[in-house]
Symmetry: C2
Subunit: 583 residues, 2 copies
């Protein structure tokens, strides 16, 4: 029999929760046994959760994770091989994959390529491995890799397939989500499978961890590049797929590239190979399975699910339950309220209207209407009295100085103080509602509308906020966010007849400039050369640069673009590279 049943266990681990993660892993092992799985794989650093960051500097943390590995191994029978992610310690520490079989740790693999870009800092912690690993039983050969390893065209996967004749490459992964990453990842893995004439079994974790969402969507890909199984996005899942090795044998007879490549193997690019034979009790008669290819979500749904997952996990993994949101009647807070309800349930979301001296009637109505549509608790706390008392207090200092951003910020800060008081008194987490267009340009009040525990849409440009809002109403099949909210001009309502476009260019223009400047490292001159107005580009670049200090003090929030503010973009605050100053 040349057939292997793979199980990919796409679980939602919690960073640092070694006991909880182990319990979850053992449950999954039991499930695999029941379904006749031969080889079960878990995501990268399953035992510790990903990324453990500086927990990796604690020797007692490493030790607990190694003890946990033995516990897990003791649950693995002789007709199952398990690949699980852990931190190995052999003088240095390694990002490792353990091969478990018949109650024991029978093999170990160390990640070869350590990502140290974007949100990743793995060179801060780990020694890199330099060996490839093939596990073999009954003449069937399985190569092991970890995440980044397979993003390189050469490296251990290639060694395993070409030198070790591996027919299946397992990749255990923790791949943070951003918009559109799934399709790129599938394309890449599909090419790797075909280049190596090997099946690729890719298991990704799922869940939110501070600013990162892991999107799941684990995959099994045939040697011809075809996706034959895909797990759910943004949910735990257990994916099973049967791999027909005879199909791989045939491809290797037919395809000349493999033979050519074997001739051209270059000592410098090929890793040392370790081959591990295990005495495997192969289960001949397996129960029938339902091999699924889950449909990939379209863009708005994908982003929305990421935001919901991250928000839910941040709140619940940190031991909280209820969230409070200041509802202005505008689009941002409306969307955040919808996400919160999907993340926590309507009984756990509280909307607060805090009308001020410049709030319009329609804003108050739209906030109330949204709350009714969502079925959430709704409070009204006017700020006027406190606002006037502050003005009285400042009178001896400010004298007759004119109204300016001071008084605008004051209103926003009173609202921040009110929400934080509710948070302190009732234990609700405050969700902030600023979007990426705002946080990029600093169009926000520090300690005002930026005050809170989680910034749900901080990486979502305003134009995308509208798309997500349309998705919310579509998904519900009715108007959750009132139509008027889509139609009115965005405004902070902090002074008479204010709109966002008093200070900012129209959002479609702004967002395009921001994408180039913030995410793509375009120079100011290059953006102008793309046909944008010079003064506008310079003003936007100036706003982005001088507001770095503000972003450093805002709460965490989900990354959904290729480059989010935070670990992903590390610019100095003190920075005299002022492109907007040059003529």
């Amino acid at each position: 029999m040349r057939k292997i049943r793979l199980g990919l266990s796409q679980i939602n681990t919690t960073v640092g929760d070694i006991d909880g993660n182990v319990r979850r892993i053992i449950e999954q092992i039991e499930r695999a046994v029941k379904t006749g799985v031969d080889v079960l794989a878990f995501p990268e650093l399953t035992i510790t959760g990903y990324p453990p960051e500086d927990l990796l500097f604690k020797p007692h943390f490493i030790q607990r994770n190694i003890e946990a590995l033995s516990t897990i191994a003791s649950h693995v029978p002789d007709n199952l091989m398990v690949v699980v992610g852990f931190v190995d310690e052999e003088g240095d520490i390694y990002n490792g994959a353990a091969v478990l079989h018949d109650g024991k740790v029978v093999g170990k693999y160390h990640k070869n390529y350590l990502p140290n870009y974007g949100v990743f800092d793995e060179m801060r912690y780990f020694q890199h491995g330099d060996k490839a690993l093939v596990v073999s039983f009954k003449g069937m050969k399985i190569g092991i890799t970890i995440c980044e390893d397979i993003w390189y065209p050469g490296g251990p996967a290639r060694t395993e397939a070409l030198v070790g004749d591996a027919e299946i490459i397992i990749n255990i992964s923790a791949s943070p989500y951003y918009m559109g990453k799934l399709s790129w990842r599938e394309r890449m893995l599909s090419v790797r499978a075909n280049d190596n004439l090997a099946a690729v079994a890719y298991v990704n974790c799922v869940g939110g961890q501070d600013e990162l969402a892991f999107d799941g969507a684990s995959l099994v890909i045939k040697e011809n590049g075809e996706v034959i199984a895909r797990a759910k996005q943004f949910e735990e899942d257990f994916l099973i797929a049967d791999i027909d090795l005879v199909s791989i044998d045939k491809a290797r007879l037919r395809d000349p590239r493999r033979r050519q490549d074997k001739h051209n193997l270059d000592e410098r690019t090929i890793n040392e190979l370790e081959v591990l034979d295990i005495d495997f009790k192969y289960t001949e008669h397996k129960p029938r399975i339902d091999q699924r290819i889950e449909t990939a979500l379209p863009k708005a749904a994908e982003v929305y699910h990421a935001l919901v997952l991250n928000t839910r996990d941040y709140i619940t993994k940190n031991g909280m339950k209820k969230a409070v949101i200041g509802l202005s009647g505008g689009m941002d807070s409306s969307l955040v309220a919808c996400i919160a309800v999907d993340a926590l349930g309507k009984d756990n979301v509280i909307g607060v209207s805090m009308p001020g001296p410049f709030s319009s009637e329609h804003s108050k109505e739209d906030a109330r209407l949204l709350s009714e549509n969502l079925g959430i608790k709704y409070l009204t706390i006017p700020i006027l009295d406190v606002y006037e008392k502050y003005l009285d207090t400042f009178k001896p200092i400010f004298g007759e100085l004119p109204f300016d951003t001071t008084e605008e910020n004051l209103q926003a800060r009173i609202r921040g103080v009110i929400l934080m008081a509710l948070s302190n008194k009732f234990g609700w987490i405050v969700l902030t509602t600023g979007n990426k267009s705002e946080s990029s340009t600093g169009y926000s009040t520090l300690y005002g509308d930026t005050a809170g525990g989680y910034a749900v849409i901080k990486d979502v440009y305003k134009t995308l906020v509208y798309e997500l809002a349309e998705y919310v109403n579509e998904k519900a099949g009715k108007e959750i966010i009132p139509r008027r909210v889509f139609e009115k001009a965005p405004s902070a309502e902090l002074r008479e007849n204010q709109t966002d476009q008093d200070k900012l260019p129209p959002y479609p223009v702004l967002d395009e400039i921001l994408r180039m400047y913030v995410e793509e490292d375009y120079s100011v001159q290059d953006i102008i050369a793309e046909g944008f107005d010079e003064e506008t580009v310079k003003r936007v670049a100036w706003m982005v640069d001088v507001n770095e200090y503000k972003r450093r003090q805002t709460p965490p929030g989900p990354k959904i673009t290729p480059r989010a503010f935070g670990k992903d973009r590390r610019l100095p605050i003190t920075n005299a590279f002022k492109e907007w100053k040059k003529s």
Copy 2:
């Protein structure tokens, strides 16, 4: 003549300010020429400033730095060799040192060892070099290294000295300050000099960059390990020293280690060596110089100078001038006011007393007295009216719920709002006054006392705060901080008869536990084993862990310990590794 005159140009560059840094470099070249310097060295990444962080992702930034290098080279005459730090681009980018002579770039060295720990992320950006470089003229040989390179016992410095026979090793550096680093650095460099029987010329930059202070204290060390010149700490300086190469010749004849070592050279540990001969017009008759060994500052003075430098540079490099501080009459705000006055001058510091319902008479008096002693502007803005108006506003929601931290935080937040309003109206930066004991334990109010632009003593434990305060009065030779402030029990005065020790253990105990837990990665059990009370240790560890979210939203501030919060300590917020829960 076997003698070389070295110039070490310890300048305060600004990150991103390529034009400004170039101007500064050219001035120093002119100065070197006047003083008969043969070899002039600048700190690491002189042209871009250090650390440029993600500016390194901008190709136009790299390009401007390379253009700047040519400009600098054109100012170098034929009787001077200059070593300057820049970003090199040869396919990949490198942390580079250029050798300039007679109007041209005559050689380049690429940093071999890229630091990627603590506050460093250099593997995020650079390719590492793998060659050593020796520059030779008139039979005299000089090896080039960059910062981290010389912290390894082998590497390029050893290759240059043993294989290339370099008699002087230049190390251009950007070494962030922490307490006591100078003495450790000198010890290490002294051993390197003696191990290699070569003089070491170490040039460090000086200045504040966001959370980092660079402390200068550039050094020249003889081949016998003796420091023969030391520049000032925390100030720009131009250090000149003459190196007698005959003394090195003699040491190499006498000391058998060098001959033994040459036998034992291992291909794997020795770098490829590049040797560069330059046609140098050696200046035979040089003006006399005053070779200085500046006295190293004692601990309190050293830390105080670091805080002053960082505060001044953060404020002025970001284009601000005046600072406002909420003065409570307590020790922390008193110390911060003193630092601010030394950083900015008394006319640029404004103290604000904001008495509340629980403020004591002595607090108000002590704040006023401090302001008088410092000669700063002093405002009083009472918070009681606004506080009561908030309580009225919350009445319909809170009903008869008892007074708790909500009302305490409310007072702190009103003060935060007031300071921020002053900041907005007058352009003053708010300096926050929380210390490391507080930020570690979360004994602070987010958006309250943590609200501001720069957190001057965020990395200073409370016990050290008292030492620095004593230093302030000693330095002044009179009472600047009133004696009563030293004597009274620390209190936030947010409820009746409150003291810090209601919630925290005594500061000497707390600070010791924090040092072990935060900086040294002790486990909770290990700290208990050091003789500390179990319940206290667990409570402190719990406070540290659950307040990670708060620290993420606080302003930047100077790093003065080996591990500060910030880039230096990257723990997840969502973190279920709860040692304080285990029995």
